[in-house]
Symmetry: D2
Subunit: 284 residues, 4 copies
């Protein structure tokens, strides 16, 4: 069905825009993947637009850019990075016009996402007997709070008051080294949904809203690109490829992250999620 191709660059030249996942495509647990800078340089020279689409909501666009810079990827622009946190922020500014926004996450993540003129309040500071002012709840990050106590407070707040609940990153876990993972924001949100028997509002791939945000971004000044002009490149079938396919983009699975060469076909057949291309990496 899908085509194994030897060279990312040969395929890339057939498109005007490349959407790239971050973790597993540009970097991994050891840092930047060797040679990625050259590939970015190649895209620049060919006049191909690029955007990085990441489900990481723990850092602002600026902070993400600084991390890439520190890792050695110098030629990525700040506004080429699109995070699921930006969708959460956009939602809050459109829909929540008053009150305080309660959050689970770090103070830093709260500051950048919630910079909409509204006050925010950490879960640890919620007084369950006095909830009048709180008008929304956001799952921002898996760090910055005490799981033993603050998950209970979250559940009890949401049992007592019905407000919009936003999950800024719907990933259930993220890799921490070659073998191991850590529970992510989306996993904690899922636990709370299961206890409350409610569905929250999730942002991030595979949801097509992320792809649409990127699509609008590249067409901001003028309507220059159609979906046929874009290739989505990622290492994860269930987020990058599923979402890219559904949005109507051509998709490429690379084998530098979650999906390994020896199980790519098995996973494609068992999931029914089919990339248009499979390539070892974006390096060649």
């Amino acid at each position: 069905m899908h085509i194994r191709v030897p060279s990312f660059r040969e395929i890339a030249k057939q498109f005007k825009v490349i959407f790239l996942d971050s973790y597993g495509v540009l970097k991994n647990h050891k840092g930047l993947i060797d040679g990625v800078s050259d590939t970015i340089q190649f895209l620049r020279e060919e006049g191909i637009e690029l955007r990085v689409l990441t489900n990481d909501a723990s850092r602002s666009q600026q902070q993400q850019s600084e991390v890439f810079d520190r890792l050695g990827l110098k030629n990525l622009k700040v506004d080429e990075i699109i995070t699921s946190g930006m969708l959460a922020k956009q939602f809050l500014s459109h829909k929540i016009k008053s009150g305080k926004i309660a959050y689970l996450g770090t103070e830093n993540s709260a500051e950048y996402i919630l910079q909409s003129g509204l006050e925010h309040i950490a879960v640890r500071d919620i007084d369950l007997e006095n909830l009048d002012e709180i008008s929304a709840f956001v799952f921002l990050d898996d760090e910055g709070f005490d799981w033993n106590t603050d998950i209970d407070t979250t559940v009890n707040f949401l049992r007592r008051k019905t407000v919009p609940v936003i999950v800024a990153n719907s990933d259930k876990y993220y890799p921490v080294n070659k073998n191991d993972v850590s529970v992510a924001t989306g996993g904690i949100a899922k636990l709370c949904e299961s206890m409350l028997n409610k569905k929250f509002i999730h942002f991030g791939k595979p949801d097509t809203q992320m792809f649409n945000y990127a699509f609008e971004h590249i067409n901001h000044d003028a309507f220059k690109y159609t979906k046929d002009d874009i290739l989505m490149v990622g290492d994860t079938l269930s987020t990058d490829i599923l979402g890219g396919n559904k949005f109507g983009l051509k998709t490429m699975l690379v084998l530098t992250g979650n999906t390994r060469s020896d199980n790519a076909d098995l996973w494609i057949n068992s999931s029914g999620i089919i990339p248009d291309y499979i390539c070892n990496s974006i390096l060649a």
Copy 2:
């Protein structure tokens, strides 16, 4: 949280565009809801744009328009109707470039959705020993086939060959009279997903892709409207309101369809899906 308002028209005047669900807002099992024509006329006079967003994929835009016309709603334009079938059609034309498309549904639904130059084949005509030519599968409609045999054929085809699978309408059921419902395409697709342990590609509300399609449609010629200009009006929390909220629109729940006045608050609290406004109907 949400505000009960006496008049749809008073709220509508605060917006430049109204998105309307069809069943439960414009019509019900008895036909057109009395007075709906006047409301459409009111929106015309106020210069407010409107689009009808429906998960019905069994008829083309033209056929949907003819049904409204026969029911007595004369002042709705063909291109103001947006169906989930149009998304399925768009997906197929972007992603499937060769082979035959197998489908479950009526011959009529196949003709309008699959008019992309590709051949289509009804499930009843599939030869399980000869699947080479089939390149995609679409769940189009709950009619036009024998459930006792063709659901089995669908499952066995999808066990034997991995192809993209599209669900043109993800609703699990639709109302047939005041009390009763009928299993819809999305319900049959869900049964097949559960047997195959796979996730298909679903189109229709609450997925935001439907809202995005409508958003692009009203901004086609020039970027005239932002999300803050739009009100989504629907009778169903889990599709119209959830999807509208997630896309970042203001939302209004009306009580002429699935949600009745006496359980609106209960359902809002138990689901956590909160409309910005609640109004009896779009009539006043």
Copy 3:
């Protein structure tokens, strides 16, 4: 963890009772598995008790026995066969004391399961305007009714009246030949559960109630056997092995049915369902 063993008989001799699945262990789509009669004979000679535990609810114990007889397995006694239909029958006789029992299935399946003095009524004969007399609903079989109409009637009946709902066989599908399957009673029940957002009462493996029924059966006259005396043998991890493990029995996976030799380890690791032994078949 688990041990691959060359001989079923060597292991069997360490136990006083063997529980056997039917399809995939004793028979397959081509008929009786060659040599199975000899194995049954071996168990007789060794004085080892046996019971066949099957999720097939479409035939009575007597009818199951006649099928085995026709296939050539002559030395199995009627009361050594335990079906999930017997659990459904037991439930109905304990819990439903009056009214009519509505059912989806064949007339034959209705007669043997519902022989409790209560009247039964096929779904096709239900009058939705007159439901007073119906006191329970049973999903019996995937045959004997028109799927295009009777599934809708089932859903609408259960929307209108709250009664106990029993699923006599929770399997979602069953094999019809080497490659293909057919939707089973449990699949149709699951579709209805999903539409109604309710959980029915399911009988059959992996539920431990089936194992307990068999356990009580072998200890009926005197308390002769403990769980440590019993080996459960089956071809399906998710029913035979999961249920046997949970009930506290030693379990053996055989490779003559759903699980093939080349994917046994993969499926064990990915499901986390671990048999104590793996053996090619019960033949040697």
Copy 4:
């Protein structure tokens, strides 16, 4: 369908055995429910057997009994208390014959459940690089560990090694006061199952194995009681009533716990779980 009855005692006299849930029937967040001692005394005088069936796995039978004693319920015998932890313990002693058992919970819970001659090891002490000796994993309690770190270790252990995983209490949460709840063992297990895409072995109501354990217990010396002799009394539809119904017992819902008088009918209709009787409490 169900009958509202004014007096528990009048109904109880029609049975030979009463199974009682603990929390919400005998006690609540404020302590023992006033008058419960008199009801126990009444059952003694009538010669009615009783068993308390609780999903609390954090304390041994002896410790549960001491808690009842301290609360003022003096006339309950140790061996009348049946906990889901006893099922987990039984499973482990039947199925796990060697190696160390890893656990999430308090040291105390580990000591009583794992007293089977096998060593146990807390998750915090697991060395992910050296897992050879660990032969099973048990979710015992929601206390006794650091959620921020030990849930990750649990997930990574189970990604690296396939062993039987037991959940000693499948409740997702438990009440801590009139309004609030706390995430329980079953909730944490569910989070891990969702991350690993595996199903663990769960013990506790509504699973019928708990009812069967109690049934065997009352028939231990002689087969004195049938299912028709037993009434199950509980405050929770989804555990006490669902499980009791499925096991084939008559069931009574009381309104001193999770289910309140004003929503009992609504919850019964929306869940489809129907008790045979509803009574305010067991006091009269």
